[in-house]
């Protein structure tokens, strides 16, 4: 797939911004400055960045508990995200959601979700509306390998295929669901194989290669447009952190962990090498992107810290829409 320097650097920048956001959030949480739960996306950035590089403003995404990456890649403002993580009033939900339920409808971000696999069936609802309203747009459902063992995954894929809904299913197979290794929770090696059961295409790709991801999403969209039906994309990856920051369970093989975190496998240095080899960008560009991401996050944290908490009067706002 050919890419311009701008396109490539944009994907790279998105990956770096996601990494910087989640490493910052993780450090703040470890330091006791952030309440609640933080599920870092570090290591999986190529998926969100690759997928969203193929999406337009009208396209929608439904996300998970590990959602910061999807949300940033779809264009969310990291200041408002960080304010939400702190429970502050300028956060995306005015402090009501925290990390796990961030949304920005103006950007097609239908929301992160605290219930595993719940977003899959909601994504079909979004896709149904897009189809009904005759919009040239798709909805991407992100979810993990663990989610693919829940009923909503199976109900969702079946309905999308049967109704020919414009949903693209992106399974982020990071090989673990909390402390449970994927291999111990399913008999098959490739989650993409499940697509066949519902009459859709299943592809397994390298989830640490944003170009492979981008390509798979473009192909899925083209296939759908040609009347070729839906696609389940299984993007194989690895989460760098524990399930959530502060989780102390030990279940990863240390050698595998080291291998996946090495420069060779880590999606960010990997992509740097690709960009350099293609002559699209070099060390100075990478340093510049990283510096700007650091500055962006420092500003986001400063903004969030200086922001006010919501007043107690807002406690029961938004339970219902007035009228």
């Amino acid at each position: 797939m050919s890419m311009t320097r701008d396109e490539a650097l944009k994907i790279y920048e998105t990956m770096v911004r996601i990494r910087t956001f989640d490493e910052t959030a993780a450090a703040l949480f470890e330091a006791g400055e952030l309440p609640g739960f933080v599920h870092p996306y570090s290591g999986e950035e190529a998926i969100a960045a690759g997928v969203c590089s193929e999406l337009t403003k009208d396209d929608c995404v439904c996300s998970t508990h590990r959602g910061h990456g999807h949300i940033i890649a779809k264009g969310a403002d990291t200041k408002r995200m960080m304010a939400e993580l702190f429970g502050k009033v300028s956060g995306y939900s005015g402090g009501k959601s925290g990390s796990m339920h961030i949304a920005d409808f103006s950007l097609g971000i239908i929301g992160a979700n605290g219930i595993v696999a719940a977003d899959i069936v909601v994504a079909n609802g979004v896709a149904f509306a897009l189809q009904y309203q005759e919009k040239d747009a798709v909805c991407v459902a992100f979810f993990g390998d663990g989610a693919s063992n829940r009923g909503p995954f199976h109900e969702g894929l079946n309905l999308a295929a049967t109704w020919d809904l414009p949903t693209i299913f992106v399974c982020e197979n990071n090989n673990f669901a909390s402390t449970t290794a994927r291999k111990t929770a399913m008999r098959i090696e490739r989650i993409a194989e499940r697509a066949a059961a519902y009459g859709m295409t299943g592809v397994t790709i390298d989830g640490n290669d944003p170009i492979a991801v981008k390509h798979a999403v473009r192909a899925a969209r083209d296939r759908m447009k040609r009347g070729g039906g839906q696609t389940l994309i299984e993007a194989v990856t690895w989460r760098h952190h524990q399930h959530f920051v502060g989780d102390r369970h030990v279940y990863k093989n240390p050698e595998e962990q080291e291998r996946w975190l090495s420069d060779e496998m880590d999606p960010i240095p990997r992509f740097e090498r690709v960009l350099a080899a293609r002559g699209l960008a070099g060390a100075a560009d990478f340093a510049d992107v990283k510096k700007r991401a650091e500055e962006e996050l420092a500003a986001a944290v400063a903004f969030a810290k200086a922001d006010a908490y919501p007043s107690a009067e807002t406690l029961t706002d938004c339970v219902y829409r007035e009228g």
């Binding site: 959601s97 402390t179 929770a185 369970h249 406690l315």
Partner: protein
């Protein structure tokens, strides 16, 4: 021993005692490491993320004579297996004319206070208390955690067992070895003649705190820990209200439609003549649990709310 350790101890003792007890749930291999070490994968079953299947497994295997204890993590996830709990587990004995019974336990962590936001903080005990066929236990101390969980395992019926997140590290004396507490028998945890406070779970220590504050002002509150919502020990509550003439029911779940209404109605129906004022209820505002720390703190009904409700009665 802490509340959490007491729960683990109950499981350990019951599993040693009865080989039909099995533990089923997501991540139990690591989260119940001591049990896994002793009983292995045959009796401590790590499942995929499949809530409907976990409870389905409990229903089917309980019908065949096992005593499954499911670990469902956050109580909010019970919504993902509502059918299996409500339409299957609760009704099977009755629908089948008593051909089978289901000795299964659904363990879950409940309540707000850890900034876990709307989908990981609910108190759902009132919901499950409404279904004939289910029993609902809500321990308030380490000792009760052990005694009630052991009883839940021995009980021949489905028991939904709510463990408040903020009680996990509570320390207390816990009897060693086999120990059960009967269902349907409330505990008078503090005696008094000024007002009856009815509570369960984490609301019990909160009511004790409120009672201590009131004592300094000259009112002695009687605090009743109901321990199980279903079966509900009405007699202990009524006897207390006949003595004190005043009643406040407190729970963390939203006030609207909460089990406090059931308690209040029974007191009004059966001890009306003894009442010197209306039965008061304390519960959360009618909203999901907010994330932001000051909002969540404002949402959770605390000792101040209990004291205020009592003062309105005096």
């Amino acid at each position: 021993m802490t509340f959490d350790e007491a729960l683990n101890d109950a499981l350990l003792v019951e599993m040693r005692r009865d080989s039909s007890v099995v533990v089923i749930g997501e991540d139990v291999e690591l989260k119940q490491a001591a049990l896994f070490k002793e009983f292995g994968a045959r009796r401590v079953r790590n499942t995929p993320i499949s809530e409907a299947q976990i409870i389905g497994l409990a229903v089917g295997s309980a019908a065949m004579g096992l005593r499954p204890v499911t670990c469902m993590s956050f109580s909010d996830f019970l919504c993902c297996c509502f059918d299996e709990i409500v339409n299957q587990a609760a009704k099977m004995s009755y629908m089948l004319g008593g051909q089978t019974h289901l000795p299964l336990v659904v363990r879950c962590s409940t309540g707000a206070g850890i900034r876990a936001a709307a989908q990981h903080s609910q108190s759902l005990e009132s919901v499950f208390a409404q279904f004939p066929g289910l029993k609902v236990a809500v321990p308030s101390t380490p000792e009760k955690a052990k005694g009630l969980l052991a009883q839940a395992i021995r009980d021949d019926n489905p028991v939904i067992f709510f463990e408040h997140k903020l009680l996990g590290r509570m320390e207390g004396e816990v009897p060693a070895g086999e120990y059960t507490l009967p269902f349907g028998r409330a505990d008078v945890v503090r005696e008094g003649d000024g007002v009856t406070l009815v509570a369960w779970g984490r609301m019990v220590p909160i009511c004790l705190d409120a009672a201590a504050r009131l004592s300094a002002q000259g009112t002695e509150a009687e605090v009743i820990d109901v321990m199980t919502l279903t079966p509900f020990d009405e007699e202990t509550v009524l006897a207390s209200v006949r003595k004190t003439g005043r009643c406040v029911v407190a729970h963390e779940a939203v006030l609207h439609g909460g089990f406090g209404g059931e308690v209040a109605a029974r007191v009004a129906e059966k001890a009306f003549a003894s009442l010197k004022g209306p039965v008061k209820r304390v519960g959360a505002p009618f909203s999901p649990v907010p994330f932001s720390p000051p909002l969540e703190d404002a949402w959770i009904p605390g000792a101040d709310c209990v004291v205020e409700a009592i003062q309105e009665l005096l």
